[in-house]
Each structure stands twice: as C-alpha cells, then as structure tokens.
C-alpha cells in the first residue's frame, strides 16, 4: 500500500482563499494570488483560476502543482470531447466527475487538491437538444483529493475560506444581486479573508461566467496597492523619513 515509510512530506504552496457563487446574472469566481511555502511567500502572482473550456472554470486550492496538473489534464479531456462529439461541449457534471474519479484513484498518494469546477452547459433544465441553445442553469461542483464531489450554489475553499464565508453567508438576497453588486461581494469577501488569513494575499482576481458568453475576467486588484492602504503607507513612509 502507498504511503508506508515515505520520505518526509514536501512543502507545498498551500494557503489560499477561493470562492464561487451563482446568482441571477451568472457565476462569480473570486480568488487571491498568494502561493505560500510554509511562512515564505513563494509567489504574489499565482493564477488560481484555470480555464477548462470556454464555459467552464476551475479554481486552485491546496498543492499548486497538483491542481495545475490535474485541471490541465481535465482541460485536455474537455477539448477532446468537443472535437470528437461534433462540437458539443462537455457538461460541468461530466468534467467534475472525470476529475473526481482521477482524484479518487490517487487517494493514497497524498495529493492536495481542493477545486471548484463551475460553469454552464447544454444539459441543465430548460435546455433543448439543439446544441446552439444554452441552458441557463449554473453548476458549481466542489471536488477534492479525498474523492469528494458535491454540487452546490456557493463554496469557499482554502485556509481563508471561513473568513470569506462569513461575508458571503451574511449577504441577504445574494441570488438577486446585480452583476456589479455580485462582483463587489466577491471582492469584499476575498479582501476580508486576506486581511485575516496570513496565507492569503497578493491580487484579487474576479471572473464572471454567463451562459451566453462563457467566462471572462472582470476585476483585478493588487491588494498592496489599494489606494487607501497605499496612501496610509506613503504617509507613514514620509513621516519616518
């Protein structure tokens, strides 16, 4: 059996805050960009949102290499599916299941993956067989290295997830937000999480997925360069010099 008398565990890029939720205008995915190696900040500019297809995104939490590798493998399978199935896009359920089955098969090998596979496909309610018509049912699946795979309307993953959930769960009427309000909510949740969680930080990146246009990045901000924080820092620097 694997993991018997194995070498000491490698240090991974672990800490993170990622979140996603569905609302009337689409699906929001918001992430930070810090990759930590223990207490060392390995990278301030990690891309934690990984595209799987034009209408499906995956997020990265846990081991950066594990997430990048297996979501890239999923992207390959999704593209092959489209090419061999006459242009029909792979459904979110199938994409997440393919990933979950890989992770289940490797569950004794100490992978560290906590990802959300989210998007739109042709298979939800109100869809028709004609593959030019998109269904407007959003799907978000959380999958992790234990082989768990569950569907939901809102998830937050990573060391900062509990802080983000505090902001997301206390927003009344979350489903009926406008696009701008939903983006603002995602930003707020990540910002609060990076404030409290030492292992989250860097940039806030927010993506929006809609049934018609697929995914696109809608917001990016360097937390360190946030105008108020930057102004306060500059004042401090000026006072001390």
């Amino acid at each position: 059996m694997p993991s018997q008398r194995s070498p000491p565990p490698l240090e991974f890029a672990h800490g993170t805050t990622t979140l996603s939720f569905a609302f009337q205008g689409g699906i929001i995915a918001a992430v930070d960009s810090r990759a930590s190696l223990g207490s060392f900040v390995g990278s301030k500019t990690t891309q934690k949102v990984l595209p799987v297809s034009s209408h499906i995104l995956g997020t990265m939490a846990g081991g950066a290499a594990d997430c990048q590798h297996w979501i890239r493998a999923l992207k390959k399978e999704a593209l092959l599916h489209e090419l061999t199935e006459d242009g029909r896009r792979m459904s979110v359920a199938r994409a997440s299941r393919i990933l979950a089955n890989h992770l289940y098969a490797l569950r004794g090998y100490d992978l560290s993956v906590g990802t959300m596979i989210m998007g739109y496909d042709d298979h939800g309610i109100n869809s028709k067989d004609d593959h030019d018509t998109r269904s407007s049912t959003p799907y978000i699946y959380y999958a992790d290295n234990t082989g768990l795979r569950i569907q939901g309307d809102i998830f937050a993953v990573g060391s900062g997830s509990t802080f983000a959930l505090g902001i997301l769960d206390t927003e009344e009427n979350r489903y009926n937000l406008s696009v701008d309000e939903a983006v603002a909510l995602g930003i707020k949740a990540i910002r609060h999480a990076t404030f409290r969680d030492a292992y989250s930080g860097g940039y806030i990146n927010v993506f929006l997925i809609t049934p018609k246009d697929g995914w696109r990045k809608v917001y990016t901000e360097d937390i360190a360069r946030n105008p108020e924080i930057w102004k306060a820092l500059q004042t401090e620097i000026n006072e001390n010099s």
């Binding site: 979950a100 289940y104 004794g108």
Partner: protein, 206 residues
C-alpha cells in the same frame, strides 16, 4: 461515525432515514446531501462514511447488480443476494483499499406467483460484516437510538408507527448529539418500489 443512518422494517416495507449534512473539520459543506442511494427499483442503501466512498461504492454495487440482471435475461437479484454481493466487495477491499462506509441495505422481494412479498434490512460494516436485522443504525446514532428501537419496536408495525419511531430517534439525535444535523431524509421501499417520504432540504444533484 458522524453520519446518522437508521432503518426499520414494518409490515410490508422498510424505511431508512439519514441526516443530510456533509462537512469536514470545522466546516459544513452542504446540508442537502442524499445519503440513501437507490440500488434497484426495490432496494436502497443508506450510507455512513466518506462522501467519496459513498458515491463510488453505491454506484459500483448498483451498476454491477444492473449488469447481472441484463446479462442474465432479466433475473432479478434478491435483497439477500445484493447484500451478500456488497459484503463481498467490502471484504475484498478491506486489505487493499478499503471503502470506509458502514451501510444499511433495505429491500422488498416480491413473492413467487402471488405469494406475499417479504422485506429485509441488512447491516454491513466496512470490514464486510453482514447481519440481517429488524431495525438498525450506523454511526454514533447507534449509541443514542438503540434503546429507543429496543423499547418501541414490535412485530408487524404499520407504516405510520414505523415513521413515528424514526421520528423519536431523529428528535433524540437533534437533542443530544453534539453535531448539528438539522435535515433528515427518509425513504421507504415497499411493493411499489423506492420512494422518498420526506426530506429536510431538497437533495442536491449528483
């Protein structure tokens, strides 16, 4: 251990109830998970254990049962046969890559040529132990509810009486168990097949 699953047989059917919470460490991921999987039209399996093994094991068992039926001219497997198949798979896996699930399998078997059908409930643990029971529970629920079953159960219960006993068990879990389990889903199997009796929150899609 943290999942609550219980089952009870009555005159004409079996009911299995399970909580709907799903979480890890200090987080609750969801409160609408359906932990009672349908095996065939006349049998179901309530599962306590890791979500990954819940999905992989129940689908492996149900699809293999289905394969047997379509490969053998529609021969239906009895609940007894299904439970023994599941038990064999758990026992084989235990020293290779165990399925960490403890289950209750309930099913209805139609009688031959118009004879009255029979119901059965089987208790399986993750080592592959198999035990036919009249009522049972998995996880910590065993500690809280065994005495309630022992006291209240009698032969030839009606469906209403069976539901009432399960209601007492659910209330006991909500009162005394330290983990919050606000939602429960109840399913029954009888001569008309598997059906959902009630749920706390509409189960999530799988």
């Amino acid at each position: 251990m943290a999942d609550t699953v219980f089952g009870i047989t009555y005159n004409g059917g079996v009911i299995i109830a399970a909580d709907q919470s799903n979480g890890r460490s200090i987080l609750t991921y969801q409160k609408n998970l359906d932990k009672i999987a349908k095996l065939t039209d006349y049998s179901m399996m309530g599962v306590s254990g890791a979500n990954s093994d819940l999905v992989q094991f129940t689908q492996y068992v149900s699809k293999n049962i289905n394969l047997y039926e379509i490969s053998n001219e529609g021969t239906k497997l009895s609940t007894h046969a299904q439970a023994n198949f599941a038990r064999g798979e758990l026992a084989t896996a235990i020293r290779k890559g165990p399925y960490q699930v403890n289950v209750l399998i309930g099913g209805y078997d139609a009688g031959k040529q118009g004879a009255p059908g029979s119901v059965s409930l089987y208790y399986l643990d993750y080592f592959g132990a198999l035990h036919k029971v009249k009522y049972g529970a998995q996880g910590y629920a065993q500690y809280f509810c065994a005495s309630i079953f022992d006291r209240e159960y009698k032969e030839n219960l009606t469906e209403e009486e069976a539901i009432k006993i399960l209601g007492k068990c659910i209330l006991e879990m909500k009162t005394r168990f330290m983990l919050s389990q606000p939602n429960f889903i109840m399913k029954k199997v009888d001569k008309d097949g598997v059906s959902v009796l009630s749920f706390g929150e509409d189960p999530a899609d799988t």
